[in-house]
Each structure stands twice: as structure tokens, then as C-alpha cells.
């Protein structure tokens, strides 16, 4: 299978432009931005906490959906043909306490944002959304209750032989997956693959409304997964670890056996320094320049800005941030920033307001 091509905007290596850009995060938006800027001849350096570039395309979404090799070959082409430098296992220091999200296990080096900003002409933050949303019900803290990412990430990451990552134990267990997004489907699929005794999916609405689409649900049913709709989890029961789940299903309260509960109900963006960078203002479009944060040469793109979305939106956001960054550096190089009435333009851009 041919590689993905993040350098799709140029037919081959570009002449050096003498500019250096740092990109934090090697997921879809970071790689798209890196591809665009390296096509302009920029020296691009990409920092990521994980051992390989690709982000959740590699570590969240199963390989039968996105072939591992297609991503690996794409990033190798970026390195070899376009001179992109990857710094894996490097975390850019967060405002929140460290080692609290999935994927932190791999970090070997921690850099401050300031180091990065000083090192490059401009930077883009593309750190995505890694914090899992919780169900907010009793018994959620019991062993055997996972978030979608907590369950999926180790399945993909374990192959990178980190002693800190353990594949979840679900063999012979009754597994309940809450949610019907793509990660819920992947979690159910993963649980079947790991030898669960039974897999049941609970969704608060119906298959017609499921974010993953009805096609995926039909395929799961064919694999023996039980689909229960109009279902709300109420309580996880168990003494030390999960034993069963109480749920309201179509008006009736039922108790279902569950030694593992996976709440795949979405993620929350975890950008570093959200407050210092004024990301709330960026989200609202109250900014000087598209995708620019409160620090003038630091930009932001992808799920870190918008919250969880799809690969396509993240890529588009990364491309737009890259274009905006390049335009800004051009104008700055000509000493013409003052003549640009950017406040009005950005505020009027409806698409940017989400």
C-alpha cells in the first residue's frame, strides 16, 4: 500500500527558505502543518510525547482501519525528502501536573514552551485531546472501569515494548462499552479480539443517531456484540473491582454482569498553557491573526483548539494554521505587520468561529 503523503502540496523537496518552525504534536493536524511548511522550504521540527509520529492515527485507531505502514512510510518520507526532524518521546511541559494522561508513559525528555519558542521563528501547538470524559456515576473509580483511551491506547502501545504499558485484561470477562462513537466501536472490537466472554454496547440514543454510523454497528453485531440502545448507565457495582453495571434501558432498570466497563464517551482537549496562551479567545476568534495565540509567534491547531473532532477537521485546521503562520512570517519579514487590519478580518471569519 502506498504511503500517505503529508507533503501533498509540493511535487518534491522545496528550496530552503531559511525559516525554522517547531510543531508540538505529531498527530493529524501537526503532521499536516509540518507537511505544508516543509513544502515551503521551512526547517520543521516536530515534538511528540510518543515513541513514533502519527498520534492517535497510530496509537488510538486500530491497524485494520489505518494501516500502520501507511503512516510510518509517510513520516519517513517527511524526514528523508523534506528534512523534517522528529523529536519523539519529548513532552513540552504542561501547566497541569505531569504524568496524568494516556501516552505520558513514553516521555524521556521534557522541554519548556519557552525553550521551544526561543528556538524557532514560530511554533504551532497541535497537542490534541487526550483527557477522557468521565461518566460521573457511582463506582466509576473501581478497578476494571476504563475510559475509551485508557483501554485502546495500551493495545496499540504495548507493541512498543514499554514496561509501563499493559494490555487490559478482559479475557473471559463480560465487557460493557458505553458510547457509540468510533472509539466505542474500536473498544468493542478490541474486547472481542482480546477474548472477552461477552461484549455489550450501551448507547443513550438509537443506532440511527450513533456517531459511528449504523454500518459499524451492524458489523459489530455480526461479531456477536450485543447492541442495547436508549440505555443510560446508573451505577457500577462491585466491592474492589467492577462486577456489574446498573443501567436504565428503555425505561426499565437492569443489572448487567460486567467485570470490565469501558466508558468511551469522548475526550477533552488538553492544550499546554491554555490560560497563558489565551486559547479561549482563539476559539472565539477574538485574535489578532488566524490561529495565533496570545504569544505572537505561537499558533494553535487541531483538537487542542476545537476539542475532539475527526481526522479530516484536524488536518484542515493544521493546514490553515500553517498557511496563517507562513503569511504572518512573510509580512513580519517585510516589516509590514502594522498595516494589516487583522482584528476585523478574523472576527468576521464565520468558519473560524466553528
Amino acid at each position: 500500500m502506498p504511503a500517505m503523503n503529508f507533503n501533498f502540496l509540493c511535487p518534491g523537496p522545496a528550496a530552503p527558505a531559511g525559516r525554522s518552525v517547531g510543531i508540538i504534536g505529531a498527530g493529524p493536524s501537526g503532521l499536516a502543518a509540518a507537511g505544508h511548511l516543509s513544502c515551503l522550504g521551512y526547517q520543521v521540527e516536530v515534538y511528540d510525547k510518543l515513541p513514533k509520529p502519527g498520534g492517535l492515527m497510530l496509537f488510538g485507531i486500530p491497524g485494520h482501519r489505518i494501516p500502520r505502514q501507511r503512516i510510518a512510510d509517510a513520516t519517513r518520507r517527511m524526514e528523508r525528502e523534506h528534512g523534517v526532524v522528529f523529536h519523539p518521546q519529548t513532552k513540552i511541559c504542561c501547566s497541569a501536573p505531569m504524568f496524568e494522561e494516556e501516552g505520558d508513559h513514553f516521555c524521556r525528555e521534557v522541554l519548556g514552551l519557552k525553550d521551544l519558542v526561543m528556538r524557532h521563528d514560530a511554533s504551532i501547538i497541535c497537542t490534541g485531546s487526550w483527557k477522557s470524559r468521565r461518566m460521573g456515576i457511582e463506582g466509576e473509580g473501581l478497578a476494571g472501569v476504563y475510559s475509551g483511551l485508557e483501554f485502546l491506547f495500551p493495545i496499540r502501545a504495548a507493541r512498543y515494548a514499554s514496561a509501563k504499558v499493559k494490555t487490559p485484561e478482559v479475557k473471559g470477562k463480560d465487557v460493557i462499552v458505553v458510547g457509540a462513537g468510533h472509539s466505542a466501536v474500536d473498544a468493542a472490537h478490541g474486547a472481542v479480539g482480546l477474548g472477552a466472554a461477552s461484549v455489550t454496547m450501551l448507547y443513550r440514543r438509537t443506532a440511527r443517531e450513533a456517531p459511528c454510523g449504523s454500518y459499524e454497528i451492524e458489523r459489530l453485531k455480526e461479531m456477536g456484540v450485543v447492541w442495547r440502545e436508549l440505555a443510560t448507565p446508573l451505577k457500577v457495582l462491585g466491592s474492589e473491582s467492577a462486577e456489574s453495571l446498573e443501567a436504565r434501558i428503555g425505561g426499565e432498570v437492569e443489572t448487567l454482569p460486567a467485570q470490565a466497563v469501558i466508558a468511551a464517551i469522548g475526550e477533552i482537549a488538553t492544550p499546554p498553557f491554555a490560560k497563558e496562551l489565551g486559547l479561549e479567545e482563539v476559539r472565539k476568534g477574538e485574535v489578532h491573526w488566524l490561529h495565533m495565540t496570545a504569544i505572537e509567534n505561537v499558533f494553535v491547531a487541531g483538537d487542542a483548539l476545537t476539542g475532539p473532532s475527526k481526522i479530516g477537521k484536524a488536518i484542515y485546521s493544521g493546514l490553515k494554521a500553517a498557511r496563517s503562520l507562513a503569511n504572518w512570517l512573510d509580512l513580519k519579514a517585510q516589516n509590514r505587520l502594522a498595516e494589516y487590519a487583522y482584528d476585523d478580518l478574523v472576527a468576521k471569519d464565520e468558519r473560524f468561529r466553528k
Partner: protein, 169 residues
């Protein structure tokens, strides 16, 4: 003579094709669609061998270029309100816009082809579901899984009728 081919069985509905197309062309020419039954699919132009859109256009504004792509020539199109081409396309691949002649369609990234590149969506699909394939390569792409998924999609585009109309290239 190359055309675009999507293996719907490999598509995960991530919308990358549509957004990359949007970045390159401003108005996307490949559309992610969701049916009321919750089926998601990108709709796209097949650059048919005998295309209905070109046949019904009185201006002759949709023509085949040197590489086999069916392209819309805005200077010939007068944006007629009958929208015959839109109605005639069996794959829902003629798209309305709010600019110019208010119609657009895939031209297999004509400008990019002129610079030695291929369609952008093919480059960027994370799943490798989209191919820019020669007629001779199409048979290999037409796996039983791909055919089954395509049948599901076509049942939604043309409810109540089997594949008919334009013959795919």
C-alpha cells in the same frame, strides 16, 4: 485514462478527503454524506466512460481532458437553473456552490496534475481507501468487500433502482 476509485469498505468516515479538497479548491468536490439511517460515505465523481452529465449539458461545458478526467469548463457553463447535469449524475457528484456558475465538480486536481502530482484526497486518505487508478487496475480494486459496501451506498443514492444510467469507466 485514470479515474478515482473509493473502496467504501476501507473508509472510516474521517472526512479527510473532503477537508483536504476544501483546502486545495476552497469548495470541496468530494462530499461526506450521512443518511438518515446513519450510513456515512463520501460521494465522488467516477469520471464515467459514458457520462450522463456531459450528455445532458446543452452548452457542452463538461468535457474530457487529455488524462481522462471529466472537467467542467466555467466559461462554457452558464449555470443554467435547470441543473440538468446535477439531476443526471447517478452518483450525486455534481455539487452546487455559492460562487461563479454555482456548480463545481471533481477534475482529478487538474492543476496539480499539471505539476506532476495526483489528486490530493488520494495522497491524504489515512486508510488508503482512495485510488487514482488506471482502467486496468480497477479490477484488482473491486474486491467482494468493496463491492458489497458500494452496493449499500448506491442503494441510498438511488433507492428502488439497481445500478443504471451511466456506465462507470
Amino acid at each position: 485514462m485514470k479515474t478515482l476509485h473509493i473502496d467504501y469498505s476501507k473508509c472510516i468516515g474521517c472526512e479527510t478527503c473532503e477537508f483536504v479538497c476544501r483546502f486545495v479548491h476552497s469548495t470541496p468536490r468530494i462530499m461526506m454524506t450521512r443518511t438518515t439511517d446513519g450510513l456515512m460515505m463520501p460521494l465522488y465523481c467516477r469520471h464515467c466512460e459514458d457520462p450522463n452529465c456531459a450528455r445532458v449539458c446543452k452548452q457542452g461545458a463538461i468535457t474530457r481532458d487529455a488524462h481522462g478526467a471529466m472537467v467542467l469548463e466555467p466559461l462554457k457553463c452558464r449555470g443554467c437553473v435547470s441543473r440538468a447535469c446535477m439531476l443526471a449524475c447517478p452518483f450525486a457528484a455534481m455539487l452546487e456552490t455559492d460562487k461563479g456558475v454555482m456548480l463545481t465538480k471533481c477534475d482529478l486536481c487538474a492543476e496539480r496534475r499539471g505539476r506532476g502530482m495526483g489528486p490530493a484526497c488520494v495522497d491524504m486518505c489515512p486508510c488508503g481507501a482512495i485510488s487514482h487508478a488506471d482502467a486496468s487496475e480497477l479490477a484488482a480494486l473491486d474486491t467482494p468487500e468493496a463491492r458489497a459496501a458500494e452496493a449499500l451506498v448506491l442503494a441510498h443514492i438511488r433507492p428502488g433502482s439497481g445500478p443504471s444510467g451511466a456506465k462507470g469507466s
